[in-house]
């Protein structure tokens, strides 16, 4: 018998965790002499109070959906891919090359081409650690994190060398007009009222939603997903069933790297429209928290990514309008990660006991 009904597991526990993180954050804000209620109002207003705020929240969420899905699919094969950061950087490299060197007639084709390029580059970057894990037993956590540094160095090298645009900045040239993706501002422009004015959210958000559905179908409806989940649950059972560990490690990591790489169509092609240094800005690591909180379920990842998008945008507003320092925003985000990810059992155990008592009564 499961100790708890399913809704308590997927909704109640994250909700309580977030609430605890919020209470603790409030205490911290109180301790530095600010008003937590005002701070919360500012965050909500800044992130969700206008279409401009939403535009930023959804832009960040799009990044987190891709990196969260990347971590989630690897988790299903019991692989801990913390190389999302590097894979997304290299994905950006793919996007830049495809946008700069191929004359695209229309943005839709450019989007398709860039998505494929980003996926291939990201997957290729994940392929080397995956191969080392599958064939040599080198631990994927160690290799993927090392590959983050190599990716950053590679990007540096490319941006001051082959891809560098004329000028002082280590960045590529602006992508051609035909590769510019429609932003929400372009898409939701109804004559006199324009929504999402000036916000970076763009059509990639819908690509991310499609990725969620596709990954869900892959994991729970296909033979490959079944094999990945089997291998993740029990390697010895997978061997018995004739599922090749090498194949699963490779395939799961390739999909994971491809998803992380695809983040680049949002931040590189959609927002910056050129490739700059440190383009990923930590989204690869946030993806780990998003996958943890989302229980590695694509729809959970979607919700968690929206929450983290809210925290990012709300936090930026907070730093802008109050004397709460930028660092404290990171503390608040860390608390959410801590409570929803690492301290899951702290909430789960008492709740399970409570449900048992209720059932017995």
């Amino acid at each position: 018998m499961d100790a708890m009904p399913k809704w308590a597991d997927v909704i109640l526990i994250p909700l309580i965790s977030i609430l605890l993180a919020a209470i603790l954050s409030a205490l911290v804000i109180l301790a530095i002499g600010e008003n937590p209620w005002e701070a919360l109002k500012l965050m909500v207003d800044g992130a969700l109070g206008s279409t401009y705020g939403w535009g930023y929240t959804l832009y960040y969420a799009t990044n987190f959906i891709f990196t969260g899905l990347a971590v989630a699919i690897a988790f299903h094969a019991r692989l801990f891919n913390i190389g999302g950061e590097g894979q997304a950087l290299v994905g950006g490299l793919g996007v830049a090359i495809i946008c700069l060197y191929i004359p695209w007639p229309h943005w839709s084709l450019a989007l398709l081409g860039a998505a494929i390029g980003a996926a291939i580059f990201g997957a290729a970057w994940a392929a080397i650690p995956a191969f080392l894990q599958a064939k040599r037993g080198s631990h994927i956590v160690i290799t993927t994190i090392m590959f983050n540094f190599i990716a950053a160095a590679l990007l540096n090298y490319m941006l001051i060398g082959a891809l560098k645009a004329p000028g002082m900045e280590p960045a590529t040239a602006k992508f051609p007009e035909a590769t510019h993706l429609p932003s929400f501002q372009d898409m939701f422009n109804f004559g006199e009222t324009t929504f999402f004015r000036g916000a970076p959210a763009n059509i990639t958000f819908f690509v991310a939603l499609i990725a969620c559905v596709a990954l869900w179908a892959l994991i729970w409806r296909t033979r490959l997903g079944y094999e990945i989940r089997s291998f993740g649950q029990s390697e010895s059972a997978a061997k018995y069933a004739g599922i090749s560990p090498t194949k699963i490690i490779m395939v799961a990591m390739l999909i994971s790297g491809a998803l992380a790489g695809m983040m680049a169509i949002n931040n590189v092609q959609g927002e910056a429209e050129r490739l700059v240094l440190n383009a990923v800005e930590g989204a690869g690591f946030i993806g780990i928290a998003v996958a943890l909180m989302g229980r590695s379920h694509p729809f959970g990842v979607l919700l968690a990514a929206l929450l983290f998008g809210f925290l990012y945008q709300g936090g930026a507003e907070l730093a802008l309008w109050t004397s709460i320092p930028r660092e404290l925003i990171i503390v608040i985000q860390a608390l959410v990660i801590l409570f929803t990810g690492a301290l899951d059992n702290m909430v789960r155990m008492p709740l399970e006991r409570l449900f048992l008592k209720m059932r017995r009564a």
């Binding site: 649950q233 059972a237 004739g242």
Partner: protein
């Protein structure tokens, strides 16, 4: 004896884990100087009860009396202080310490080790003489056999002045000769006034050695009877709650053509240990070949090779067709395509994915089957669920709930899920390892019937079991494995436990001197890793 205070008295012990009530209001009296058996199916609550007595768990309710004194046992130190010693199913010994060091460990007299060791050496010597508990004090644990390791565990308890000894499934890893030796030791201990609690699921042991027996079923103590006044069928009925057939009814085998032909099979594992040494045998249609042997003598590797997930050299033919042993076609999928089904030895590690639903487990290994697909891309989960429902009905899986996770079924029902999946494939050859390990008596009967029914349909069956009784009652032919080699074949009606026991220890003739010593020496020589695998 009647006016004596019981050595142990438990009153109204209850304990639950989450929604599961492991012990319900259990009361029991164990008289001093007796051997008291506790018997029950897996999950009946035997181990929980003993863990409470040894201070591992705290009871939710109830009292413990030791020699008439109410005693609180909050931890194992308190249990030892109260004179209780425990020999666990899985030994708790430091592998690279000597026997002497293991005995002293945790019971040193002072900060200096030398005097403690000297005293322990003297004590061990006198205990050895008194109880036939001979051990080599200077041998490393990893180098001695399972039998001696078990004696070290008993000595550890006695060295700590235990008057009450609890043994949890002590014969699971022993050959018949070693088990006999253990029982002699227990008799000696009893004669000296020690009280012994023997936890087991084997009826034969209860009948052979205990004075009194308590039966547990679903967390409750259903009966306590004098062993002399009961019988195996009665005990089985008390355990299961209904009448059970203890013997397998089967017609003579109708032996057909050769299905499996194994020739000169060799396996060397990743550590360079030679696991299978030139194994050859055949299995025919309509016959059950039983492979007996102490755990860790190559049976697991044999099943793994046949099942396709261990590489080997040599030759295997199924239906006259050569099987790929090292290349790309050497995996579980290809074996299944050749008509081989496999019920693995360890269903929780291999046969099932414990966190998967029952229906997901039904497709496991056969998830490429056409009938389970909706389209080229997607699986048809509703067909699989429906198939599971039908299988569950035919194999009487309880509860018949395809959406329940495998881990939530009892051992017997888990085994039925695996068995249903493998048998209903209608294979030419069924590999089946430890079919009834951790399975309750009621389910054993059913599983044995299914195996025999498959044989009667003209299928070839390779049965591997460490339970000699099971081998003897099911097999049409018996082969014995020892140290990666086949020791020979016997017909079940022309052999007995004693002869098979000798073969299991690598001996073809009865040795001079005490039998159990020769058995032990041979088994330790054969790698001595049986204990690690068990």
């Amino acid at each position: 004896m009647t006016d004596q205070a019981p050595a142990i008295e438990l009153k109204g012990i209850s304990k639950s884990f989450g929604p599961v009530q492991a012990n319900k209001d259990i009361s029991i009296r164990v008289m001093p100087g007796t051997i008291h058996g506790i018997i029950g199916e897996n999950g009946a609550g035997k181990s929980t009860l003993m863990s409470i007595l040894y201070g591992f768990y705290k009871a939710d309710a109830g009292e413990i009396f030791i020699s008439g004194q109410k005693t609180a046992i909050p931890d194992s130190q308190a249990a030892i202080a109260a004179g209780i010693g425990m020999v666990f199913q899985h030994f708790k010994l430091v592998e690279n310490f000597t026997v002497l060091e293991n005995v002293v460990l945790g019971a040193e007299d002072s900060g200096l080790l030398r005097p403690s060791l000297a005293r322990a050496r003297r004590e061990l010597k006198s205990l050895a003489e008194e109880y036939e508990l001979n051990v080599d004090p200077d041998a490393l644990i990893e180098e001695v056999g399972v039998g001696m390791q078990q004696r070290v565990e008993i000595l550890k308890a006695l060295y700590r002045k235990a008057d009450i000894l609890i043994l949890d499934e002590p014969t699971g890893v022993l050959t018949p000769a070693e088990a006999d030796h253990l029982f002699r030791i227990l008799e000696n201990l009893k004669r000296e006034g020690k009280t012994i609690i023997l936890i087991t699921h084997k009826l034969r042991e209860i009948m052979e050695i205990t004075d009194t027996v308590s039966v547990m079923r679903r967390g409750e103590m259903t009966a306590t009877v004098k062993t002399a006044e009961t019988s195996p069928p009665e005990l089985a009925e008390l355990m299961v709650g209904r009448k059970v057939l203890l013997r397998v009814d089967k017609a003579p085998a109708q032996i057909g053509r050769k299905i499996l032909e194994v020739k000169d099979l060799n396996v060397t594992d990743s550590k360079g240990v030679h696991r299978l040494k030139g194994v050859s045998f055949d299995v025919h249609a309509g016959e059950i070949l039983g492979i007996a042997g102490v755990a860790g003598n190559g049976q697991s590797e044999l099943l793994e090779v046949l099942g396709g997930y261990e590489k080997a050299t040599g030759s295997i033919k199924v239906n006259g067709e050569e099987i790929d042993l090292t290349g790309a076609k050497s995996d579980g999928q290809s074996r299944r395509a050749k008509g081989i089904s496999h019920v693995p030895e360890d269903r929780q590690r291999e046969g099932l994915i414990m966190d998967f639903h029952a229906w997901e487990n039904t497709a496991f290994g056969y998830h490429h089957d056409d009938r389970y697909q909706r389209s080229k891309l997607f699986m048809d989960n509703s067909i699989i669920r429906q198939d599971t429902e039908e299988k569950m009905a035919r194999f009487d899986v309880r509860p018949p709930a395809p959406k329940l996770a495998a881990k939530n079924f009892s051992g017997g029902n888990q085994q039925k899920i695996v068995l249903a999946r493998e048998i209903e494939r209608n294979p030419d050859l069924l590999l089946i390892g430890q079919p009834t390990r951790g399975v309750d008596i009621g389910a054993i009967e059913f599983i044995h019937q299914q195996i025999v029914a498959l044989r009667d349909q003209g299928k070839a069956i390779l049965l591997v079991s460490v339970e000699l009784e099971e081998i003897l009652s099911l097999s049409d032919r018996i082969a014995v494995m020892f140290d990666g080699k086949m020791m020979g074949e016997r017909m079940p009606e022309q052999t007995d436990e004693k002869e098979l026991g000798l073969l299991m220890a690598g001996m073809t003739t009865e040795p001079k001197g005490p039998l159990h010593e020769a058995v032990e020496a041979n088994l330790a020589h054969a790698g001595g890793d049986a204990s690690k695998e068990a």
